[in-house]
Amino acid sequence: MKSIEDIRADFPALHQQVYGKPLAYLDNAATTQKPQTVIDAICHYYSHDNANVHRGVHALSERATAAYEGARRKLAALIHAASAREIVLVRGATEGINLVAQSWGHANVGAGDEVLISAMEHHSNIVPWQWLCERTGATLKVIPMNNRGELQMDAFAELLGERTKLVGIVHQSNALGTINPVAEIIAQAHAAGAKVLLDGAQALAHMPVDVQALDADFYVTSAHKMYGPTGIGLLYAKEALLEAMPPYQGGGDMIRSVSFERSEYNDLPYKFEAGTPNIAGAIGFGAAADYLQSLDVRAIAAHEQALLDYATSQAAAHDYIRLIGTAAHKASVLSFIVDGVHPHDLGTILDREGVAIRAGHHCAMPVMQFFQVPATARASFAAYNTREEIDALFSAIAQAHQLFK
């Protein structure tokens, strides 16, 4: 892997001081910083190739279309999809899940059916299924977790039944860092006849993902958590599923022909991409995929694991720090509580020391309820973080603890 110094040099936003202190950016689970190559790809598109896609006969439109479709192919390669036709470009993980719930869900889930999610889902993988169940008369069931933040697989096996139509699971938890045993979950769900959606919002920046090897039916992610821009993400779905699904939104680009009597839908994946897409975002997403590949995600994972181990041992050395989420298999996230210091105050105090973390419920309120805390502080790591930044984190935590002693 590239040296850490070289990786850091790729990210212009890292090189700044906040309140006179060097920035330690440890809020990567919320969004990562962007490398210069991603910024340049977006800038290049707007500076040279800006045009609408899929409809122009002129040079710029052809270049824009080539760049947009090139990005789709890069993303298909990144997650090992069988074909770029299986990659639907959406606004992010949230829109991907909503698309599946509305399109596939309404066509395949009915009264008496069950949708199974887990106790550690992000709100975006809860609310769309609640709506689907309310509208169809299906039931939402929840796979429990233990107090380390690991799914209870025996309970999963019991909950899974012939009524289960879909299992929706977060690949890597944003609130706890837990990496779920998704291959096993998919195998069991398929044996029961259920489809599986994986929420990979947190996963792609931290581990290799092969949707075919996993046999995932649906996989969603957001570019901005893997060094890409905001407002763009992808939904992967097996081609046969996409073929059978009704369109999600109606408009331009998603149809082949329209008369006032009927419309004929376009081919995959355009059937699900109504309207002018986020072209610059998609191109930036493709550049982020290139960047990830250039670093080698396995090397990143090893580096982040070393950081997490170091941070975990630092936390263990202080009796006033309690970790939330101690799964055997976890990555890049340290969620914690400091005795006597509310996470929100901690966030403010750390910020003034240049340490950027997240304090709150991380859009996973059921996880907070489970651990009986109103909120946690969360430090989350990326390829460019260093041990020195973790030292800065713990020294700022010590100051906060001292202040409230």
């Binding site: 509310h342 929100h344 403010t348 105090i349 709150g360 419920h361 109103p374 202040l403 409230f404």
Partner: protein, 149 residues
């Protein structure tokens, strides 16, 4: 700027041992306050007499130091005040915590409340400081729930 101006000893002290903490029964008004972003949650109780004077005010709940200290100091300030005085203080407090950092703080009229002036240098924390005030306002207006987001 120094964190000490936000986390002054008085604020830390109020947050660790809040005054007027607990329920009030009977009470004439009460309401829930909730800041969903950081999980601050409080409930205020007021006993207002026939002369529109706040005879007693208490709160309970849990939240960050700023929201708990602010509620604690607010209850100390509001005891004995008329509803008209509450409304004037509400405006003054809101103004103090959202004004420009260079604006002078009228410590004489704000009294104890002026320790919270440091909040204006931390825009993301202003809502923590004013949650309790909005909660009292909605209790008096019988809305039942206040939210700051």
């Amino acid at each position: 700027m120094d964190l000490r101006s936000l986390y002054q000893q008085v604020i830390v002290n109020h947050s660790k041992s809040p005054r007027n903490f607990g329920t009030l029964e009977p009470c004439s008004h009460d309401a829930d306050g909730h800041n969903p972003l950081c999980g601050d949650r409080l409930h205020v109780y007021l006993q207002v007499n026939d002369d529109d004077r706040i005879e007693d005010v208490r709160f309970e709940g849990d939240g960050c130091a700023i929201s708990v200290a602010s509620a604690s100091i607010m209850t100390e300030t509001l005891k004995g005040k008329t509803l008209a005085e509450f409304r004037a203080l509400f405006d003054d407090f809101q103004h103090m915590v959202t004004s420009d950092v260079t604006a002078p703080v009228d410590e004489e009229s704000m009294g104890k409340l002026s320790v919270l002036a440091g909040v204006r240098e931390f825009p993301s924390r202003v809502k923590c400081a004013i949650l309790c005030w909005h909660t009292v306002k909605s209790a008096l207006e019988h809305e039942g729930v206040a939210r700051t987001e």
